[in-house]
Amino acid sequence: MANTHVFTHLDQIFILLRDWLVGFLPGAARPAAGVVLGVIAIVCLFPGLFALTTVFERKGLGRIQNRLGPNRVGPFGLFQPIADGIKSLTKEDVVPLSANAGVHFLAPLVLVVAVFMGFAVLPMGRNMVLVDMDAGLLFFFAMGAATELSVFMAGWSSRNKYSLLGAMRAVAQMISYEVVLLLSAVAVVMIAGSLSLPKIVDAQNQYTGIFPHWYIFTPWGLAGFVMYAIAATAETNRSPFDLPEGESELVAGYHTEYSGFKFALFFLGEYLAMFSISGLGTTLFLGGWSAPFSFLAFIPSWIWFFSKVMLSIFVFIWMRGTLPRLRQDQLMNFAWKFVLPFTLLNLFVTALWRFMGEGWLRWVVCSAILAVAWVLMTRVGMREEHFGPRRYRYAE
């Protein structure tokens, strides 16, 4: 009995800590102070995680490419992000003479602020959500939409052809894949019946025997998760969808003309977007903070959430080390001719799943429809011209 008590306390340790700290204040100031503490925790935690992830990524990529990665600063190169941070803080902030100074200054700020806002609605553990909104999912996507504008602002205000090309590519790509991102999340909303992220986690936090009711373990959930993962990779401009900042083509894309701390802000924004979109994927399909087996439920919920997010980050890094970059036409064809139709089909399958009721029949029917569609679209689609060599329209 005492044992479970310890684990419940460990599970709620951050909530208890916050309540204890807030307890020193007069009653009227307590709710506001609680929110401020939550904001401080998010603003401190995720950049810290970002610093660790940069080392993790460089080490991981090094391993994949058969080299060592950073190993000079501190033990195993662990202090590399501190050195990089000091470097970017002390570097000169170069603004091009022809740049549009105001917009050039605002772009990284808009990006980082918008990305940070997304964390407000993510449930990072049991009761650990900053704002429990009725329309939390919609809020998350609304904030994600605001980042597109900041990318455009950065590219346009730099007055540099690489920046502008990178920004146009990025915005076109983000708009195309945002549709898929939204539609794959809609499937989850159809089953869970709520736009509130804590409620979506609660719906998945049940067990049959020892196995959880995560949405990824259903036919429509698996298909939705694969489509979500593709769209999330494109949305965060990660390899193989890193055309907007393809080094060999565009120098650094929309942040070519940014140096010093502003560049660090873009870098931070990109990684924070990775964390938040992994967090949302975890919440929607991987059961959020719930444990993978019922007998593991005693481990604190926040450990599960962050383990799942870091696992997604590892997959991001793995894909970056493995896959070559797509071409612009392949990217667009892939989005509009494969990913989007498949996501739309998945919506129908989800509705079918919802109305066929309990039983094994819906498993067979839904799996069969998705499998047949997958084979038809990949095999037959591959044979068509969609993914073949490029046909140049003007330079023949």
């Binding site: 549009n100 917009v103 909104m133 009725d134 329309a135 919609l138 809020f139 996507f141 609304a142 904030m143 994600g144 939409a145 605001a146 597109e148 504008l149 455009f152 602002m153 346009w156 502008l164 146009m168 915005v171 708009i175 945002e178 019946g193 709520s194 736009l195 329209r393």
Partner: protein
């Protein structure tokens, strides 16, 4: 009226004015975005979460991007030679004032027509969803049909050029 309302009003009207008065087209587009954001915050201040977030998602995420794309893909953001003000600005001002007057009159009438409700009804997203597929399903279907038609039209416009090239 709370001070927050006045801050948001200044933000929205300032953004709208800047959109009209700024000389650089992209700056004007960004100022429009500020006005959109101000409106979204105003909805949120009125406890209309769904409308507020939808406003951000649709207007900042899509309409603003569409505007900047249109600017960049057509004539660029360079200044026009003969200034940004049209020669018929006086007529425009009269029309704008007339439209504003009609809208203001309608809004003020509505206060008299619909008696003040004692309590603000709590509308959840769930209720909005039910209303959309229940009572308002026909308008929803019509909007869906219209959007599909627009999409097909866009595809046809885009395809035309390719066939001629052959």
């Amino acid at each position: 009226m709370s001070p927050i309302f006045y801050i948001l009003a200044v933000l929205t009207i300032g953004g709208g004015l800047a959109a009209v008065l700024l000389k650089n087209l992209v700056h004007a587009a960004l100022a429009t975005t500020v006005a959109f954001a101000g409106l979204a915050l105003l909805y949120l201040q009125l406890d209309a979460q769904f409308a507020g977030f939808a406003q951000i998602l649709v207007y900042i995420g899509a309409v603003a991007i569409l505007i900047v794309f249109a600017i960049l893909l057509t004539r660029g953001s360079d200044l026009p030679k003969d200034g940004v003000f049209s020669r018929t600005w006086a007529v425009g001002l009269v029309i704008a004032a007339a439209v504003f007057a009609v809208l203001a009159w309608a809004v003020l009438q509505s206060v008299r027509a619909v008696p003040q409700q004692a309590a603000v009804p709590a509308v959840t997203v769930h209720d909005i969803g039910n209303a959309l597929v229940g009572r308002y399903v026909l308008p929803l279907e019509i909007v869906g049909l219209l959007l599909t038609a627009a999409t097909i039209g866009a595809v046809i416009v885009a395809m035309h050029e390719k066939e001629r090239a052959k």
